[in-house]
């Protein structure tokens, strides 16, 4: 494979990883706001009396829900969100590592390529600079 094609392939691979990485960052941020929102709801539930009237919006309808059910529902959501965060964190670490090593590869080939160009320039002596 020529140096040019290699450079192109590796750059594309690098860009792909960068995209994965930014997707993972977005997912992580989304999860974080979901976590916060649910934590706030949980806190609010904790302040309520046991016989408080709680409704859940299901489609266009407000459906009355027992406090215990609402509380366990939110707890379940929180559990799920936290496990998702762990998963995405691992992904983030993986992509960051991959991105770093790919970057090094790109730089290496780029340097090689530039050296090659330099050598070509020196062998073909152009009269006007």
């Amino acid at each position: 494979m020529s140096l040019e094609t290699r450079l192109e392939t590796v750059t594309q691979e690098f860009q792909k990883i960068q995209k994965d990485l930014s997707n993972a960052i977005e997912a992580r941020q989304r999860l974080d706001s979901q976590l916060q929102e649910n934590e706030i709801v949980q806190k609010e539930f904790n302040l309520l009396k046991d016989d408080a009237n709680i409704y859940k919006l299901i489609g266009p309808v407000l459906v009355k829900q027992e406090k215990t059910e609402a509380v366990s529902n939110v707890a379940k959501r929180l559990e799920y969100i936290r496990s998702e965060i762990k998963r995405v964190e691992a992904q983030l670490q993986d992509y960051t590592q991959k991105s770093e090593s790919k970057k090094t590869e790109v730089i290496k080939i780029q340097t090689e390529y530039q050296t090659k160009l330099q050598q070509q320039k020196q062998t073909v002596v152009t009269p006007n600079k």
Binding site: E37, N38, I40, V41, E44, L48, A52, N53, I54, Y55, K56, L57, I58, L62, A70, V74, R77, Q114
Partner: protein
């Protein structure tokens, strides 16, 4: 420089003046991106605060107006609604406004720090450019 630039004391310190123009440009770009994101968030938070403030006004209107309504249903988030007395509802929204206000304050601080960092970066860039385009040209690869 007269401005008190306390450039992120917690991070491993790299002097801005030690970096070359290309690196500085990268830092500048990153800071600008962060700043635009943060100012966006600030505007959104401000909006949220206004919304909660409007809720207080609404509940207050219900409380002092129609005597029929002693209770209101409040959206507490993630699809849940809770029935509250008007007084409790007002307290709920007042707490929200307070909560958002605290966030706004800390966000404002972050924004100010970033702005200072950006200014410092720009200053160093300017200095480097004026200090010798000849010397910079020799070391810059492109």
């Amino acid at each position: 420089m007269s401005t008190t630039t306390k450039t992120a004391s917690s991070q491993p310190t790299v002097e801005l003046t030690d970096l070359d123009l290309q690196q500085l440009a990268e830092i500048k770009k990153q800071l600008e991106e962060e700043l635009s994101h943060l100012t966006n968030s600030f505007a959104q938070l401000k909006q949220a605060q206004n919304k909660f403030q409007a809720c207080i006004v609404s509940v207050d209107a219900v409380k002092s107006g129609n005597a029929d309504a002693e209770k209101v249903i409040v959206d507490v988030g993630t699809g849940y609604y809770v029935e509250k007395s008007t007084d409790d509802a007002i307290k709920f929204f007042t707490d929200k406004v307070e909560y958002v206000k605290k966030n706004l304050e800390s966000l404002q601080q972050t924004i100010t720090t970033k702005q200072n960092n950006l200014r410092a970066t720009l200053d160093v860039m300017q200095m480097k450019i004026s200090l010798g385009s000849a010397a910079a040209g020799a070391s810059a690869p492109k």
